[in-house]
């Protein structure tokens, strides 16, 4: 029986030592979520099954250049990958996105978004892995809440410019009746396209053109000044804040109004039609805030308004014109 015991021991020892454990590695994350949905300021915790992984890269539609800090907040570097299981906090902040990816220990990764002003979720891919295997963590960062406009200020005292001497040509014709013996009457609609035109000249065009990210796809309206007796007054005229140029009918002129002139036979005459414009420029300051985060922001620039109020018919001297 002693020999049998020895034999069994040899078999057990052989089996034990024959395990090919070198060929196996731990799967650091067995169940990768389809997508990690990250909401504003709510950390998304991802649990790992073992510690043999690093954050290798982060991909998105646009380049995300992370600053990488140690757990004490000291800047370590600004490039990936992390190596040899190092812990770190990856931080990215731009005008529209503020994002942190934190690896505080070997078994957890947290994704924290404090700002995503985009109107749709921002999708990023976090590549984690080791020498042998890499896995992609799909992350969808939900848009954060939009800001609302609290008030608009116009600096009428310092930067207000007004003029009603501006004219804009709206039509013209060369009436050549030199070979004709009969007179001909010409009719014009001087206000056919005479809308009030508003233009914004923002201090930061990039921000202005992406105003939908701040305010949402439904851009907010702001009240703009009108002119009364040459002075600015605030009624209830509204324009969309975020569209640089916009125009609208005010009812101040009759778009069907007709003006006429008659050219006699044998005459040659150039006829030009002008609108008289009431124009003003004023600096604006739009105050906005995020009701959820309390974050405040101010958008500044200059507002230009051109409002037709009369028309002119001019017959330039053709010789001079030449």
């Amino acid at each position: 029986m002693r020999a049998i015991h020895i034999l069994i021991s040899i078999i057990c020892a052989t089996l034990f030592t024959c395990c090919n454990s070198e060929i196996f590695i731990y799967d650091f994350i067995k169940e990768v979520p389809d997508t990690c949905f990250v909401e504003n300021k709510i950390p998304y915790k991802l649990k790992f099954d073992s510690d043999n992984w690093d954050i290798l890269n982060v991909y998105s539609m646009s380049a995300l250049n992370f600053d990488i800090y140690d757990l004490n907040g000291n800047l370590k570097k600004n490039y990936l990958p992390l190596e040899n299981g190092e812990t770190a906090i990856l931080s990215y902040e731009s005008t529209y996105i503020a994002l942190r990816i934190e690896k505080k220990d070997s078994k957890t990764m947290e994704i924290i978004c404090t700002k995503n002003l985009n109107n749709s979720p921002v999708n990023i891919k976090i590549e984690v892995g080791n020498k042998y295997t890499r896995k992609i963590i799909e992350v969808s960062i939900k848009p954060t809440n939009k800001i609302i406009i609290d008030k608009v200020e116009y600096d009428f005292e310092n930067d207000f410019y007004y003029s009603n001497d501006v004219i804009e040509q709206v039509d013209w014709i060369n009436a050549n009746l030199a070979d004709s013996k009969e007179a001909l009457t010409f009719s014009f609609y001087p206000y056919r396209n005479s809308q009030r035109r508003i233009e914004f000249y923002p201090d930061d065009y990039n921000v202005f053109f992406n105003m939908d990210k701040y305010l949402g796809n439904q851009l907010a309206e702001i009240i703009i000044p009108d002119i009364e007796n040459g002075k600015p007054v605030m009624r209830n005229t509204k324009v969309i804040f975020g569209l640089r140029e916009q125009s609208f009918w005010t009812g101040r002129v009759d778009r069907n109004h007709i003006i006429q002139t008659t050219v006699q036979g044998g005459e040659t005459k150039r006829i030009e039609i002008y609108n008289r414009i009431e124009e003003f420029n004023v600096n604006y300051k739009v105050h906005a805030s995020n009701p959820y985060t309390g974050e405040k922001c101010i958008f500044t620039g200059r507002l230009n308004s051109k409002d037709p109020f009369d028309c002119l018919m001019i017959f330039p001297n053709l010789d001079n014109k030449e």
Binding site: L7, C19, N20, F24, D27, G129, K135
Partner: protein, 405 residues
């Protein structure tokens, strides 16, 4: 592979010796036998290498071998001699040539054998069988640079298995001329790659000299051995419990069709519970509950590497249920002195994954160490053709003494 086969060979030989001595203690006599054989063989062209795609640019169709054997049979006045009067067991050495020493080598086989009578045909002529099991040394193995065409043999030592049917002509009372046909198989049990194996169909002619033979035990179809238990043979059930283990190699085929041999050897371990109904002294059959753990099973479904193909292959360890299988097999066993040959076919019913969800076949040689304990040397195939693993272990036979004579 070398250590396994060598160890098993030694154990088998020691066992044969122990049994001989044990028998000797009863009858005080065994009968020595010397044999010489010459075997011209046909090599099955299972791969293009044998068909001529080799460095010699010559088909390998034949194999020649010479064998010398020493064996013994139990004296006719003893218990085993009365039970199995025509059975001879022993060891043999065979030298082979495939006529291509450079690429395949001239392997030397060392083996245990057993031969016995199937039927007496005339007064001096009988139909016998013989099996050989052992190791063959000296193979030239596949080498991508030096031996690139030999995609057949992956290890220098391979198992040698042989089964033959012979006509035995008793020329004199001490000398017999034996001739017949045999099938031989050489492979390494998946302990290294490649392992397509070499198969030959052998013709055989040889002499067997039995100088001390007792005339009463000579081949004589008129005197069939008649040994009966004291109260007659009673059919009974014994229960074999077998624990076995082995290592195996595994390869992986990449998506581009190339392959890599996975480094290291994987462990295999198993337990069989095998109730066997003894129909007579030569044959028993039954069912076997077969549990096996295979460290390599289904690992290719858990490949860790993202970038493939690679030489630095790694895997995630599969769940236990994908490496474990529990099956039920039907077993038939030919019972002879010292050795029993057990054949089985079964199906795993507790399993998960392509590597275990199969029919399996087992070929086992049981070598008795004591009345209850035996060595277990087996091989398992999947789906009748795919080599799976060796089964090297030890077994205990419960209720073995039920029908002692």
């Amino acid at each position: 592979m070398i250590k396994y086969i060598t160890a098993l060979m030694l154990l088998c030989l020691v066992t044969v010796n122990l049994n001989a001595e044990r028998q000797d203690s009863i009858s005080r006599k065994i009968i020595h036998v010397i044999g010489l054989d010459f075997k011209p063989a046909y090599t099955f062209p299972t791969k293009s290498f044998f068909k001529g795609e080799n460095m010699a640019e010559s088909p390998i169709r034949t194999n020649l071998s010479g064998h010398i054997k020493y064996g013994f049979k139990f004296a006719p006045d003893g218990y085993m001699g009365k039970m199995y009067p025509n059975t001879i067991q022993g060891i043999g050495v065979g030298y082979n040539t495939f006529h291509n020493r450079k690429e395949i080598g001239n392997p030397l086989a060392v083996y245990v054998f057993q031969t016995s009578r199937i039927a007496s045909l005339t007064h001096n002529l009988s139909l016998d069988y013989e099996w050989n099991f052992g190791a063959s040394f000296g193979w030239k193995i596949y080498d991508a640079e030096r031996n690139p065409f030999n995609t057949i043999v992956g290890s220098k030592v391979n198992a040698y298995i042989n089964l033959g049917f012979l006509l035995n002509w008793q020329i004199t009372k001490e000398m017999a001329l034996r001739a017949g046909i045999e099938l031989s198989h050489y492979s390494n049990g998946n302990t290294s790659y490649p392992n397509y194996g070499v198969n030959t169909l052998d013709g055989r002619i040889g002499l067997m000299w039995c100088p001390q033979d007792d005339p009463s035990s000579r081949f004589n179809n008129k005197k069939m051995p008649a040994v009966t238990p004291k109260y007659g043979f009673k059919q009974y059930i014994n229960y074999d419990v077998i624990v076995y283990g082995a290592t195996k190699k595994k390869g992986i085929v990449w998506h581009d069709g190339s392959g890599t041999l996975i480094p290291g050897s994987f462990a295999v371990a198993g337990i069989n519970f095998n109730p066997m109904y003894n129909f007579n002294k030569y044959f028993r059959a039954g069912l076997s509950l077969d549990a096996q753990y295979d460290e390599s099973a289904n690992i290719t479904d858990h490949l860790a590497n993202t970038d493939t193909p690679t030489d630095d292959v790694k895997f995630f360890r599969p769940p236990f249920i994908e490496q474990f299988s529990l099956g039920l097999s039907a077993r038939a066993e030919v019972v002879m002195p010292i050795f029993s040959i057990n054949l089985g076919i079964g199906k795993n019913f507790v399993c998960r994954g392509d590597d275990t969800k199969h029919f399996y076949q087992t070929f086992v040689l049981k070598t008795d160490i004591t009345r209850n304990v035996f060595l277990h040397v087996g091989y398992q195939l999947y789906n009748f053709k795919n080599p799976n693993n060796l089964m090297l272990g030890i077994g205990y036979r419960f209720n073995a003494d039920k029908n002692r004579y």
